[in-house]
Amino acid sequence: MLTYFARRLLTLIPMVIVISFLIYLGLELTPGDAVSHMVPPDALSMMDEERLQALRESLGLGKPFIVRYWIWITGVMQGEFGYSLAGGVPISKIFLDRLPATLELSFAALLISTVLGSILGTISALTRGSLTDQSLTVVGMLGVSIPEFFFGLVAILVFALNLNWFPVGGRILPGYDSFWDRLPHLVMPAMVLSIMMTAGVMRYARSSMLDALSRDFIRTARSKGMPEWRVNILHGFRVALTPVIVLIGFRLPVLIGGSVIIEQVFQWPGIGKEFVSAVRSQDYPLVMMVALFSVLAVLIASLIVDLLTAIIDPRVRLGE
């Protein structure tokens, strides 16, 4: 198990290197450079070429691309995230401020979609062909096909403005910052963000469960004389769980992408919202760091998924 974990961890390193390189390359290819964003446009036209060149030299922009990448990535590894172009705030401070909110939202959505999706999918599989199954199928299709921001707007209209159950947006009211005070703020964004993933997990859990239930070992389990629910849960669901967890790992980027939009809709003060404004104002150092962090988040999450799969399915423990 430990060797498996270590090996899996080692494969992350080349992936991080390649992806960070691609991110850097992508921004290199965008028009303009740091100087053109640092200096206001009207001042830019006034400055003569020599001073611009000197400014570029002082920022290290004259060095070859690979060298600049190397300086950047070694800096990041040492915790030097650089400064946001807008206001010159250290990016590490922005992360410290905003990351907890995003993690809270994503984690809540992940939890909801995993639990709700697997439970509904299992119910759907066990009542195959019934009215419950069919209506869950319809709900699942709607969940997958309607965009999240639409659900978000409808939820705000219905639950916040009409019914007044939850606040319209935001995360914390000043003076009310315990978890229970924050919870009402979290409910709507987390639910809306989880809808698409819940629907996906549900559909997948259903087919995975049906597959598991058709296997021979289910008949063996029945032949032992155990109650039907135990056959379904202990033997069916447990085996059906592995592919579902793998699917959840694959869908994580969707969740992160979705949180960018949902944070906008609900004015959730997270990294996603920051990311959108950074892209708008061409704040490239910040954009790069957010992109790198999302990649890291997905990679780490997929590592956790792999470990979970190894724990659940003994056949995966190839390292032994």
Binding site: R219, T220, A221, I312, R315
Partner: protein
């Protein structure tokens, strides 16, 4: 005589429904399983062997049911009509596994890959015995040891994918035998295994039969296995038992043309490569479009006009029955 009967099946009819059509998978099957004896059920694929086993265990697929007939289990507390018990009721579950256990064809798929072998044995003990946790563990180790699995203390915690095919089937048998069932149903237990392993598995089952007095119902299509292991034989064709009796009589003096054809289709050791193997002509009829009379008539070399009617069951001897109009001629022929 009646005391040593472990299970009676009488005129059992099990139908399977698919796409609004009905397959009369079992069309009036009767037999007995005797305590401490092996009954072999032989027949081609699709003749209803496995459906018979599933009917007894009440493990039929959802869209099938026992329409008529009786399955009576003669347990320690008197006879129980299995066919009248609800499929997943507590009574049926108490019988399933404890009184009547079953081992399956393919040990590769019949064991759950995500649980250790020990867990899957202990599961059985948990439901049917009052043993505590540590007692169950040591009992599981004992069972594996008695099945001839090396290093049982280590092996008990291993997962099925680390077991070889033969070992998995031994583990299956360990699960089946864990509660000392009175009847063990084995549905082609060695079809998926090597020939050398086959012999070991059968030897194991024979030992269990002798040591525990377990009645065994062995489903097979291997006549060699029948000759070696069976006390009684029932030959099935298209949901009927066409011939049944003690192994000596049925194999030595087969009366039904189908039994004879089956025996003729086996190559005999020592006759060389060029011996003629008589395959049975034709194919088994479509179960949704059955012939009216004797199901075997279309493929039978001895067909007569009367075969358009389903023959009754005739007694060749008190313990030897056959379903064929011309049984007297064949019986006389066999006696010569």
């Amino acid at each position: 005589m009646a005391n040593d009967v472990a299970l009676t099946v009488k005129a059992l009819k099990t139908y399977i429904y698919t796409n609004n059509r009905c397959n009369r998978a079992l069309d009036g099957v009767s037999f007995e399983i005797r305590q401490g004896k092996t009954l072999c059920i032989v027949g081609e694929s699709g003749c209803g062997k496995s459906v018979t086993a599933a009917s007894i265990m009440q493990l039929l697929p959802t869209l099938s049911r026992i329409e008529e007939g009786e399955i009576t289990y003669h347990g320690p507390d008197g006879p129980v009509r299995i066919d009248q018990l609800p499929r997943d009721g507590a009574k049926m579950r108490a019988i399933r596994g404890k009184e009547i256990a079953m081992i399956f064809q393919d040990p590769m798929t019949a064991l759950n890959p995500v649980y250790s072998i020990g867990f899957q044995i202990k599961e059985m003990l948990k439901y049917h015995t009052g043993l505590g946790r540590s007692d169950r563990h040591s009992k599981a180790i004992d069972l594996l040891r008695s099945m001839g699995i090396p290093l049982p203390k280590k092996r008990v915690n291993e997962y099925p994918h680390l077991y070889s095919g033969g070992m998995r089937q031994r583990a299956m048998i360990a699960i089946g035998m864990s509660c000392n069932p009175r009847i063990l149903i084995a549905d082609e237990p060695t079809t998926a295994l090597d020939v050398t392993i086959q012999a070991q598995i059968f030897e194991l089952m024979d030992t269990l039969k002798r040591d525990h007095g377990t009645a065994i119902m062995l489903i097979t299509h291997d006549m060699g296995v029948v000759a070696e292991l069976a006390d009684d034989v029932a030959v099935m064709y298209m949901g009927n038992i066409v011939e049944a009796g003690p192994v000596g009589k049925v194999l030595r003096n087969p009366v039904h043309p189908y039994t004879r054809a089956l025996l003729d289709s086996i190559p005999v050791l020592g006759r060389g490569k060029d011996q003629e193997i008589k395959a049975i002509p034709g194919q088994t009829p479509d179960p949704y479009n059955r012939p009216k009379g004797c199901q075997f008539a279309d493929r039978c070399a001895y067909r007569i006009g009367a075969c358009d009617q389903m023959p009754d069951e005739m007694q060749v001897a008190p313990d030897h029955r056959v379903t064929c109009w011309r049984y007297e001629e064949f019986a006389a022929d066999a006696a010569e």
